[in-house]
């Protein structure tokens, strides 16, 4: 029948078309397993960040490889390997790409998930996320750029210190990988001469499970699930025996606890600058008015308190607060009454009206706004893409990520100090005709956070991967200007932010040159 044949034709066409693969492959989904170019056997001598030395937390000597206990552990590997499912093999490959890389990606995912501004209360005030009640209607944390920068920094720094300690004990005890002790163990990932006790992967797992209690307390179950997958993947891959994992995880947890203690005392807890309903941050508005300048006001409806006004007081990694205030904080922006200010505002209006499609693409490429991993996360992604090609050992991955993320967190502190010290209005406040190509951030304008982050990141990354130095600088410049194109920052916000960021990166280079790894 005619009708039937038409229906059949349509359904067939639809089925054929819909079976075309639309699956998205992320650019690190299927990368090769990590096979370090250099195992950095002496990394136990590298200078840690918080630890007094690599032996501050002692890892007990492992059992000898001829003991019944070790033999039993070898047999555990073999029993895993007897019937590995497709899914287990996928997990082995996934985690095989690198513990530091994968947990960095997981962190970025959590930042994106939690990077949502709280929704207002019925009375027009805003709830403050509560660390003790992370799963409430207003989730904790609001992983905004300063929060994210700090989270990446603590995790990376703790991983680095824990891995330095691990490398010390690896060399000290020199217990080789299971496949070196027993030729019948299969390996599903590249073999290495690096001693396997304590396991570097387990060190990272220990750090993460511990740090995440502090940083993303609402996602404990998710973290534990991943930790279990990661642990099992290493054993099933034949890369570690269980005692390698247990020792590594215990070490990672102990080191992480030291970082958690630092974090609890780094003044982030007070950064919202609201105590018992009192807006302490108003002091900045008062100071700005008393200098004769127009103060920033929130353009959100209802007016939202500015983001983390006291983040500029948070404890830094690479320099002290006096250095920050005297040598890094940029000089004052153009007065809101000056010709220069009018000129710069007019330039923003120009981009608001006339940005080209290419400039709009740049705005969106670097926007890293709500529900993204933030600009610090973007620079982690840029770094990770390049570090993959460098084939760093796990400890070097961690060291380089720590340098990057300490720079990014310190950049956040510097920028927030500057923003609130000057308390400068946004372009849309200076001229309501200025409409924006991306979300207008709810805090003072000078200096640009993106610019400060990007300046810091490009500088330290240029030291870590010298061949990419110019590319990083070009990216930082573009990220910086994207905020002008987006009509949310004046040119001087961008330029001075970039300069301050470069200075922050310089302190990271100074550390890199003396940590024993260069």
């Amino acid at each position: 029948m005619k009708l039937q044949s038409i229906i059949v034709t349509i359904i067939t066409a639809a089925t054929v078309l819909s079976s075309c693969s639309k699956q998205i492959e992320g650019r690190t989904d299927n990368i090769a397993p990590l096979n370090p170019a250099n195992i950095d056997i002496n990394a136990g001598t590298w200078r840690p960040i918080l630890l007094t030395g690599p032996t501050e937390f002692v890892v007990a000597a492992p059992a000898a490889t001829n003991t019944p206990g070790y033999v039993a552990e070898i047999n555990e590997i073999k029993s895993w390997q007897q019937n590995l499912s497709r899914r287990q093999k996928d997990q082995i490959n996934y985690w095989g790409a690198g513990a530091v890389l994968r947990w960095n990606e997981i962190m970025r995912q959590l930042v994106a998930k939690y990077n949502l501004p709280p929704y207002q209360n019925p009375d027009g005030t805003y709830p403050i996320p509560d660390a003790n009640n992370p799963l409430a209607a207003t989730k904790f944390p609001f992983a905004n750029p300063p929060y994210a920068a700090r989270a990446y920094a603590y995790v990376s720094a703790a991983q680095y210190d824990a891995l330095v300690a691990a490398w010390h004990f690896k060399k000290l005890y020199n217990r080789l990988a299971p496949y070196k002790n027993n030729a019948t163990v299969n390996t599903l990932l590249p073999q290495t001469d690096l001693p396997s006790y304590p396991s570097e992967d387990a060190v990272v797992i220990g750090v993460m499970t511990e740090m995440m209690k502090l940083l993303f307390p609402g996602d404990q179950a998710y973290i534990q699930t991943l930790a279990t997958e990661h642990r099992n993947a290493r054993i099933a891959a034949g890369m570690n025996v269980r005692s390698d994992m247990d020792a590594g995880e215990a070490l990672g947890k102990l080191v992480a606890q030291k970082f958690v203690t630092r974090a609890r005392g780094d003044r982030t807890g007070a950064a919202v600058a609201i105590t018992n309903g009192v807006d302490l941050w108003k002091e900045y508005e008062t100071a700005c008015i008393s200098r004769g300048e127009e103060p920033w006001i929130s353009l959100e409806i209802p007016k939202r308190p500015p983001m983390l006004p006291y983040f500029g007081k948070v404890r830094t990694w690479l320099f002290d607060s006096l250095t920050m205030v005297t040598t890094i904080r940029p000089a004052a922006p153009p007065s809101t009454k000056s010709e220069q200010f009018k000129k710069e505002t007019a330039e923003v209006l120009h981009y608001s009206k006339n940005a080209t499609r290419e400039e709009i693409a740049i705005v969106h490429y670097w926007a890293d706004g709500v529900a993204t991993y933030t600009p610090p996360g973007h620079w982690n992604a840029i770094a990770a893409d390049d570090f993959i090609t460098q084939r760093f050992s796990e400890v070097r991955w961690a060291r380089n990520m720590a340098l990057l993320n300490m720079s990014l967190m310190d950049a956040a502190v510097v920028c927030w100090d500057t923003k609130f010290f000057y308390y400068n209005p946004r372009p849309s406040q200076a001229n309501p005709d200025i409409k924006t190509w991306t979300g207008l951030p709810n805090f003072p304008s000078y200096t640009s956070g993106h610019s400060t982050f990007s300046g810091a990141a490009a500088t330290i990354l240029g030291h870590i991967v010298p061949g990419r130095k110019q590319a990083y600088e070009a990216m930082a410049k573009e990220a910086s200007l994207s905020r002008l194109y987006g009509a949310i920052h004046y040119r001087s916000d961008c330029e001075k932010g970039l300069e301050a960021g470069n200075k922050v990166g310089g302190y990271a280079i100074a550390r890199a040159q003396t940590d024993g790894a260069d």
């Binding site: 005619k2 009708l3 038409i6 229906i7 034709t9 349509i10 066409a13 639809a14 078309l17 819909s18 639309k22 699956q23 998205i24 492959e25 992320g26 650019r27 690190t28 989904d29 990606e105 970025r108 995912q109 994106a112 998930k113 949502l116 501004p117 709280p118 929704y119 209607a137 353009l299 959100e300 409806i301 209802p302 608001s352 499609r357 709009i360 693409a361 740049i362 969106h364 490429y365 926007a367 890293d368 709500v370 529900a371 993204t372 991993y373 973007h378 992604a381 849309s428 200025i434 409409k435 924006t436 190509w437 991306t438 979300g439 207008l440 009509a487």
Partner: protein, 313 residues
């Protein structure tokens, strides 16, 4: 007859518009051979409240989000059984509050083939069956990544529709259709994004769409008045999380109810006016839009000289 306001367009406006207007690829009217109906149409759609997932809310930092569409559409009769249709919209969006800039541009071209294999008289009634297939593709390099102010989703689409029309006593009708829309993945200007997981790619998976449409009312050569119920369901996608911005691959479901009219001038039967309105009555990750539209259409005879009339059954 004529104008074209295709469902694909409604989809592409996602949070902004959902509509299905009269006398299009989704109605039972065919052009005669060589007749070409063409004309401009204006559509205004706005919403103040929207569904964030299933949670209805307003957003004081957007105020009322409005979309204006200026479109040109046409319908050419290859034969009374086979029509070709096209539509090109220019779109302007605006939020009445907040800082986000209004956006505008030429959106997506759609092309459709409408085929009527069955047109059977049964007593006083007539039963017709239609198969409709179409594609749409962006005509400009707009960004889909600035919802709800983006002018579209920028997905290339292909659709297939099966439609049945029951026409009684040359006056009363009921038309029902079901549509399946394939949507191609889209690319963003950024190389990572979060849905319910982090994706390190500039490419976004766009779930396919099904729609169901029922319309009924009065229809003669000179006047059409109809009520329309339309439902659109995204086959996948994720919900907007609390206080988040919308994303192109959200699960943008909508059910709307509306009315349409068409009036043909007796003195100038080539000329007609169309108008309509519809209201989203239920939805998920879409605005609760009220949409109104109006158009003017003219029928040209591109054949020898034979006089065209519409709607010869």
């Amino acid at each position: 007859m004529k104008s074209i306001k295709n469902i694909l367009y409604a989809l592409s406006l996602c949070i902004v518009v959902n509509g299905a207007f009269a006398q299009t690829d989704i109605d039972a009217i065919m052009m005669e051979k060589n007749a070409f109906c063409v004309g401009p149409m204006y559509t205004y759609s706005s919403w103040k409240e929207y569904w964030e997932g299933n949670n209805k809310r307003e957003n004081l930092n957007l105020g009322t989000v409005s979309t204006q569409m200026f479109s040109v559409g046409g319908n050419y009769g290859v034969s009374p059984k086979l029509n070709l249709l096209f539509n090109v919209p220019y779109i302007k969006t605006k939020a009445s509050a907040g800082q986000l800039r209004a956006q505008s541009g030429i959106q997506d071209l759609s092309l459709m083939v409408k085929y009527r294999p069955i047109n059977q008289k049964i007593g006083y009634a007539r039963l017709a069956v239609f198969g409709i297939a179409g594609i749409s593709t962006p005509l400009s390099n707009y960004t889909p990544d600035m919802l709800p102010l983006s002018i579209g989703l920028k997905s290339r689409t292909a659709m297939a529709r099966l439609m049945v029309d029951y026409y009684y006593n040359d006056k009363w009708f009921a038309t029902a259709s079901g549509t399946f829309v394939l949507r191609d993945n889209i690319k963003l200007d950024r190389n990572s994004y979060y849905t319910d997981e982090l994706v390190l790619s500039d490419e976004v998976f766009m779930p396919n769409v099904t729609t169901f449409n029922v319309r009924a009312g009065y229809r003669t050569q000179w006047l059409i008045a109809e009520a329309v119920l339309n439902n659109m369901t995204i086959q996948g996608g994720f919900d907007i999380t609390k206080n988040n911005m919308p994303f192109p691959s959200n699960r943008m479901n909508a059910t709307s109810l509306g009315v349409n009219f068409k009036y043909v001038f007796r003195k100038i039967p080539e000329l007609s006016l169309t108008g309509g309105a519809n209201q989203v009555i239920a939805g998920r990750n879409v605005g609760q839009s009220l949409t109104v539209n109006g158009g003017v259409f003219y029928v040209l005879n591109l054949g020898k000289k034979e006089k065209k009339t519409e709607e010869k059954k």
